[in-house]
């Protein structure tokens, strides 16, 4: 197979596979599916997913190195600013700048 055709085929396959994962719940559960248990699940999932995503992002930080120290500082800046000001953009940009300064020096 020609290189570009291979890439195009791979992209098609990936597009379909990704779309199927995102479409599945909408096909399985109609709109009328509002049992109280179901409601409870869909209400509890966002806080759980957010917790898991944060841990996932931090899972590769090497402990007992300087990396864990500056990652912690950057997290503290992000969270602290956010609790104080509740401005998402400000918290994210500040935390990231702090992190970048540590990484690049």
């Amino acid at each position: 197979m020609n290189e570009i055709n291979y890439l195009l085929a791979a992209m098609l396959v990936m597009t379909v596979a990704t779309y199927i994962t995102r479409l599945t719940p909408f096909l399985l559960f109609g709109k009328g599916q509002e049992s109280s248990l179901f409601n409870y699940i869909s209400k509890s999932t966002p806080p759980m997913v957010m917790t898991i995503l944060v841990i996932y992002m931090l899972k590769d930080v090497e402990y007992l190195t300087f990396e864990i120290v500056y990652t912690f500082i950057a997290l503290l800046v992000t969270a602290g600013l956010h609790i104080y000001k509740r401005n998402a953009l400000l918290s994210i940009v500040s935390g990231t700048i702090v992190y970048m300064i540590f990484v690049q020096t």
Binding site: A10, T15, A17, T18, S44, V49, V54, M57, L75, L89
Partner: protein, 224 residues
């Protein structure tokens, strides 16, 4: 409405553009024309899967393997739609696009924010989803185009995605104010990290949902 959606989606910009640039840079090492990085961002639109694809493509692996790995890598998305069964509205092109654009970041943002009262939910979500994808396409394109000429040191910029999730975690806490989901997710993550580190995300999500269902059922039983 468009301006409000733009403002509220800006945190995603800071997560997506640097990550997209990183993707574009790496993708260029495969030696394809730059615009294939943009096409990937437009059609595949899945961060983790695109990064994985770079590795798979360079090894010339079969299409079936690519399909299966993509499917499993993204299977956590199967749980994301649950939050939007109602709010994505009726079946139409917009709903199909909203589903297409349901990434970690849009899911996180849209489950956290409150849609302003005078706006239709699905239209508001549509613009957020559209802007988010634009940021991603922009990032991937910049990365691929500047692969040979980049002078700005982007090291550490990837922290923006972590910071975004931290901010949304705090917002979730403000919104939910129940400790249980956070504790369950924390324990589930620890278990997943210890035993299933390769599939940590998916295992942790399944464990969390299973636990919360179990606890709920026990509670309903004991109330009867």
């Amino acid at each position: 409405m468009i301006r409000s959606a733009l403002t509220i989606s800006l945190p995603i910009l800071f997560g997506f553009v640097p990550l997209g640039i990183a993707f574009g840079l790496l993708f260029q090492e495969l030696g394809y024309p730059w615009y294939f990085a943009s096409l990937m961002a437009i059609f595949v639109y899945a961060g983790a899967a695109q990064f994985m694809a770079i590795g798979l493509l360079s090894s010339g692996i079969g299409l079936l393997e690519i399909a299966i790995s993509t499917f499993f890598l993204n299977s956590r998305h199967m749980f994301y739609g649950l939050a939007f069964l109602e709010s994505f509205g009726n079946w139409n092109l917009r709903k199909l696009y909203l589903i297409f654009g349901l990434t970690d970041e849009t899911y996180a943002l849209m489950t956290t924010i409150k849609v302003p009262k005078n706006f239709t939910k699905e239209r508001y979500y549509f613009f957020i989803t559209l802007f988010a994808q634009l940021y991603w396409v922009l990032g991937c394109t910049i990365g691929a185009l500047t692969a040979n000429a980049l002078s700005f040191n982007t090291n550490g910029m990837e922290f923006a995605a972590t910071a975004l999730f931290v901010v949304l975690l705090i917002e979730q806490w403000v919104k939910v104010k129940r400790l249980l989901p956070f504790v369950i997710a924390f324990i589930a993550s620890a278990i997943a990290l210890l035993f299933f580190i390769k599939h940590m995300l998916l295992v942790a999500i399944i464990l969390s949902i299973a636990s919360i269902v179990l606890l709920r059922l026990i509670k309903i039983q004991s109330n009867e």
